[in-house]
Amino acid sequence: MYTFTNKLRNFSIILMVVGFLGLTYGFLTAPDTVEEATAMVADPHHGEGHGTADSHGADHKVDSHAEGEHQAASTHGEEHGEDHHGEHLLHQLQNRPWAALYVAAFFFMMIALGSLAFYAVNRAAQAGWSPTLFRVMEGITAYLLPGALVVFVILLLSGMHFNHLFIWMDPEVVAHDKLIQGKVGFLNVPGFLTRALIYIGGWTTYRYFSRKFSLAQDQAKDISNHKKNFRISAAFLVFFIVTESMMSWDWVMSIDPHWFSTLFGWYVFASMFVSGITTIALITIYLKSKGYLEKVNDSHIHDLGKFMFGVSIFWTYLWFSQFMLIWYSNIPEEVTYFITRIEDYNLPFFGMLVMNFIFPLLILMNSDYKRLNYFIVMAGIVILLGHYIDVFNMIMPSAVGDQWFIGVAELGGFSFFFGLFLFVVFKEISKAPLHAVGDPFMGESERFHY
């Protein structure tokens, strides 16, 4: 049995407090009026430079797609001229703490969800190598319920117009936007929130029962719990791949309501899968370094390393598939998505590619390196930060335009949810023996070698 040490508990609480202060600071310093907003940005005309207006401002419609911010504002802008930019800037700056909160909340929820998917894959495939890691995975997935609820609350607040993260929620915007009007059947607040509840309900119900059967299997004399776990895992995977895809449209892609990509669900899935696997590896290595998980050997870490390597490449494959088709066809309403990112988010956009692809590719390619814990830890930290930036790149450009910065609010959001994540995960890990003795594949997993 693992005991949740006071040191770690205090560390996670400090992270949460610091993060909370950072977020509060972010919310308090957000401007309330257009004057404040323009005063905050040193160059008041800074706001003009972003989007696609400069790069290929062929038509005004394109511009508003890229900014995704305010179709209405942009239509207004034609009437009011000057005012538009100030108002636009105000919305972007007001969105910033919300977006910082949302990116971090989504990112840590995504880790738990990715781990849950990996866990279900191992259960459904009746994998022989991984049962020694099941309790670590179950610990990580415990964060899914609180993490997803926090995301849900943020979505609910958006639906109640506390922020402008999702511009399609604003009836004013929809009234002036023909494209969003066509999507109202899907993109409407009640439907959006109902769907969110169905996703979260389905995932956490599976998680609850799977954990229950897993614990019951420890004492059981037959393998009926294991079989039940196998069945619900297979069913969950079907439910998951549909809801995960729809979740990514709802929670991430609809931030840019004009833009769409048909493989977006897979792309987000790859991101969450690799983050989840990396977190499993990092927590396993941490617990092992503290003298727990004595049955976990180098080969288990090696296999997790292979998954980190493989899924990182899979992520790149999807990222590139999405990028290349849009880049090649160069259709204005699609390509604005990447133009904003390349022009305003150059460093995070290409930096993420280095962190999520080139670094793990070169570091984890060698078979021997995957057996060295510090290599896995080093690569893992870079991969996790890279995928945080990936989520950042998915959400920020439409929420804050070129007014992004990894500042107090962003770091605060990250720190808050990191603390919460550690707290929930290690609390859950301390609740059950780390060795799932009853698993019928445990013997195979203990003897696992490469």
Binding site: F320, F323, M324, W327, Y328, S329, N330, M365, N366, S367, H449
Partner: protein, 179 residues
């Protein structure tokens, strides 16, 4: 001076074979060769073979393929006959790079895979019409064979092999072709 006598022990299970190899090596007998119908996981380690360096070669071959693809596409699409790619007539390799990524990827894989196979053939001295070295055709079906050189210790080895679960043991006079 090595004798030309070898002993052939047949096994019908890869796990039994693996433990047999371990116990034979524990007794300090030299295993000449093991013939298996499929790659047995962990056999190379049990035999104490030096680790393969083919992965290093694979990396180098991949790099060569990558470089060839870059130069090839640069020559074909940019220099020799400049192409307007995706309606973006920039005529610069770097700006058109995304269009070449699939080719770079394919050539990397192609070079790595093919040169690796050729390297493997060369290293294992395999070429067309080469006579099979395989002493027993059963090892191409479902049996495993261990070949051990004899130094007037036939009895000792035979009893050891029996213990390890060999289903058939034969002593063979090898033709001295490799001396």
């Amino acid at each position: 001076m090595s004798s030309n006598q070898v002993i052939h022990a047949l096994y019908d299970d890869d796990d039994v074979l693996l433990s047999a190899v371990k116990s034979i090596r524990e007794k300090k007998h030299h295993i000449e060769e093991v013939y298996t119908p499929f790659p047995v996981h962990g056999l190379d380690k049990a035999l104490g073979l030096a680790e393969t360096r083919i992965s290093i070669m694979a990396f180098i071959y991949g790099c060569i393929g990558f470089a060839v693809a870059v130069m090839m596409m640069n020559y074909i699409m940019i220099e020799d006959w400049p192409q307007n790619i995706g309606g973006k007539p920039s005529f610069s390799y770097l700006e058109n790079m995304p269009a070449f990524v699939p080719i770079m990827f394919e050539m990397t894989v192609f070079f790595a895979a093919h040169l690796m196979v050729i390297t493997f053939y060369l290293r294992s001295k395999l070429w067309p019409f080469k006579e099979a070295e395989n002493p027993n055709p059963l090892t191409t079906d479902d049996k495993f064979l261990i070949e051990i050189e004899l130094h007037n210790n036939e009895k000792e080895i035979k009893s050891l092999l029996k213990e390890t679960g060999a289903i058939d043991i034969t002593t063979i006079e090898k033709k001295g072709d490799d001396e």
